[in-house]
Amino acid sequence: MSRKALCAVLFILTLIGGLLRFYNLDKNPVSLSVDEVSTGYNAYSILKTGRDEYGNFLPLSFRSLNDYKPPVFTYLVSISEALFGLNEFAVRFPSAFFGTISIPIFYLFFLVFLKDKYTALVSALLVAISPWHIFVSRVGWEYLLGTFLVVVGMLCLLKIDRGLKWTIGAALTLVLSMYTYHAQRFFVPLIVLVFFLLNRKLLVNKKKEVIIFLTILITLLIPLAVSFIFGPDKTRAQNTFITNDVEFIRNIKIDSLTEAASPFVLFDNQLLLFFHWIRKYLAYLQPSFLFFNGLNLTTSGTYGSGVIYLFELPFLILGIISLIKEKIQNKRLMLAWILIGLLPASLTLTEQHYGRSLIISPMLIGLSSIGIIAFLKFVNKHLSKARKTIFYIGFSAIIIWNLLLVFLLYTIHFPNQRGEDFMEGTKETVLYALKNSSRYNEIVFDPRRGVQGPYIISVPHLYILFYSKYDPAKFQREAKKIGDSFNFDKFTIRDIKWTEDKNLKNTLFIGSPWSFIEKDLTESWILERIYLKNGNRAFLIVSNP
């Protein structure tokens, strides 16, 4: 294939990938999630005042929802908001942008990593249409940017012998990735170590470059290390560590029932935790995560989309076989990448998480690409022309069916079934409240919501701040916490106690149907009903006239 043709194909793939990532970016997912709105408002606050919502000046860690988000993505969102304003598109733009330019970057990366342009081209195609990659490109979360930076960093590291610019580039991007997402803080040092173990000759032949690389890396990581040992990042790590896993505490350890009985209990617990961790680690290689419901696009117990397409299954198997049998460039590094990449995700308290494990996606795409090339070679070599045609037509039909299925899952079923996970309906309630705020002395939001019951705790104050473009400087100065409620301006975030609250005048109440006692609610008091896309009632807006 000529260079021009290659560039043309890459350009078309990038266009397709860009279209899939940018089309209706502000409308699907249906609403900003709590993390997105928190990032969005903190970025706005940084843009306007240089401080986050808590008044911290240019923080290295954003307290946000007490989850201490790494800083890089939020600062990027402030740049995006400077260009596009404070809205959904601006919050999601950095992910979509880096998701789109990942396509040519993946090509370049695999060109160097596997030293085969056709495999690299297939990888670019797979990343352009990857459900995993598209999904995380369309949300304002840090996962995609973190993975992008690791790929760029490793691309530079693979070229460390070609000059100082690659050395510095590798160090800077890898450090930046560690300031972008938590998983990278665990992954990057280990993969760098493995890289140098597998390329020991570099330590001898390119000593200067290696020393410069390590010096830049370690120097720039000092603030992170300080924050981790003495600062808020330690809290984040402790909160999300596997020892807090509810299933482990309740059903596996069951200390409350057994602590008096066993002399081995303390030792036992550590062993049980170890084997529990191994289970979580291996569960990332399960078909349910890989092919059937890894992205959590549909309700629990139904089939949705895995992190890779079902039609990629035979290619993944072929890729693994090729990796074992054939001489493939950097195959040990590929294997190490997957094994190490699953470590940070498996050490947290949640079950299989598509965001925390995104770091392995480049290698899964690489494996599938190797499998596709092997498959095409086999078919071209062993099948007659007629059989080849029938085979390609049949397999193409399966691929098209799978692509359309995932398309329907993402565009139709995901908004209908998972809207609540993205706090669907909150924007509408906030916009109503803002439009009518002058008529009331107080506007009360109940943070509890949920169609099945009041089990979801939202953060309505962030949505109010976001959609009202509330002055960050004013918000930073206000004393907000009063007893059990959270107050600013005329907004109060607290549980609605309807038996008492129903008597309050000039007050607007916004809550889920669970917040109100139906027999004490007159029809004329209900000013608005907010419904989810699937027709379930999400909120009532009520006032006693």
Partner: protein, 384 residues
């Protein structure tokens, strides 16, 4: 023989320990072999005999391993059967599938005797007898026995007369069974629905309806139904059920709880290392006997078609294949190698097995009784 006796002694000890901790485990309704409990001649097996059949399985696994491979692989496979929580828990809980495994192993012994040539008639008699027992005890074997017969015909390179004889005998067994099915259609229909429950799962049908509701709301019902319908959904379900059986997490971790409550893994985690090496043995076998590639999916079929998949009870007929694979890996790659890397893996394997065994001994004694109480009295524990 001393080693085998020691293994049986160890097996008795393990089962006694678990029985002492968690008995009674009333997971399985007392089933009947022969005639599916549809006629008066069904045969009920008392609970304590299931453990006895489990001990017989150890002997059969040893014998088969000795003929197919060698003494070391045979003895290791027997040991694995004896100490794996998978087999121990099923026997303690009184699963009839342990007895079906015994019959299937005996059928395999019959096939091996047919292969030996000198005991051809004895082997065939054993195979026909055991096939009859299986056909009259489980509907899934109505598919498996004919396929296994076909496999045997290919494997043994039988003469035309021999093929005719064996085919005629298998068909003859089917005749009374067919008459019984025609006479008792409703009963058999119930047994069929119970054993092949994959397509009658209510949750699946509800999910299909929910999906089609979403499509109707968006106004693309007709187009959507071409891509998403009951058939595509059930195809995915079937593929998913099969794939679950080919991942290591199913067999070496407590991903799917044994008997719905236990956090003991079916097979100790340390054996995953020789298992991975043992898979290479299968690659060599498939190169030589290509049609044997259908053996694992056939043995997985009962579990893949059941309501809750993987069903470790129905899957027990696949367990010997895994034990042989592990033993093959241990003997041929791991334990007698001089490579430093393999030595390290050997130590890792033994260490993991040892510490998990210690952990399990404590866990079974102190925590499993509590876990089975969660299962027996869920509302009590929810309130408290």
């Amino acid at each position: 023989m001393k080693a085998l006796a020691a293994i049986i002694g160890l097996a008795v000890l393990c089962r006694g320990y678990v029985i002492n901790a968690i008995f009674p485990v009333t997971i399985f309704r007392q089933e009947h072999i022969l005639f599916f409990d549809l006629i008066n001649y069904s045969f009920s097996i008392p609970f304590w005999m299931i453990v006895f059949f489990g001990l017989i399985n150890i002997l059969f696994i040893f014998f088969i391993g000795n003929v197919l491979f060698d003494y070391r692989i045979a003895i290791l496979s027997a040991l694995l059967y004896a100490i794996s929580p998978w087999t121990i828990y099923l026997e303690v809980a009184g699963s009839l599938d342990i007895v079906l495994l015994t019959i299937l192993l005996l059928a395999t012994v019959g096939v091996l005797k047919m292969k030996q040539g000198t005991s051809y008639r004895t082997g065939m008699a054993i195979f026909i007898f055991t096939s009859s027992l299986l056909l009259y005890s489980s509907i899934v074997f109505w598919f498996l026995i004919p396929l296994m017969t076909l496999g045997i015909i290919k494997l043994l390179f039988l003469k035309v007369n021999q093929i005719k004889t064996i085919t005629a005998l298998v068909v003859m067994i089917f005749i009374p069974l067919s008459l019984l099915a025609v006479k008792n259609t409703q009963g058999f229909s119930g047994v069929f629905t119970k054993e092949i429950a994959i397509f009658s799962e209510v949750g699946l049908l509800n999910a299909v309806n929910q999906f089609q509701g979403d499509l109707a709301r968006e106004g693309i019902y007709t187009f959507g139904r071409i891509i998403e319908n009951r058939y595509t959904y059930f195809t995915q379900h079937l593929i998913f059920n099969f794939l679950k059986h080919f991942t290591p997490v199913t067999y070496f971790t407590a991903e799917y709880k044994l008997l719905n409550f236990s956090f003991s893994p079916p097979i100790l985690l340390g054996f995953i290392i020789p298992f991975i090496f043992g898979l290479k043995g299968w690659v060599d076998i498939f190169k030589k006997y290509r049609y044997l590639i259908f053996l694992p999916p056939l043995l997985i079929l009962p579990s893949a078609l059941s309501y809750k998949s993987p069903d470790f009870s129905k899957l027990i007929i696949f367990a010997p294949v895994i034990f042989y694979t592990i033993s093959f890996g241990m003997v041929n790659y791991l334990f007698f190698s001089k490579s430093k890397v393999l030595n390290f893996l050997k130590i890792a394997c033994l260490l993991l097995v040892a510490i998990q065994s210690l952990s399990l001994i404590s866990d079974i004694k102190y925590r499993e009784p509590a876990r089975i109480d969660f299962l027996r009295f869920p509302s009590f524990y929810q309130r408290n």
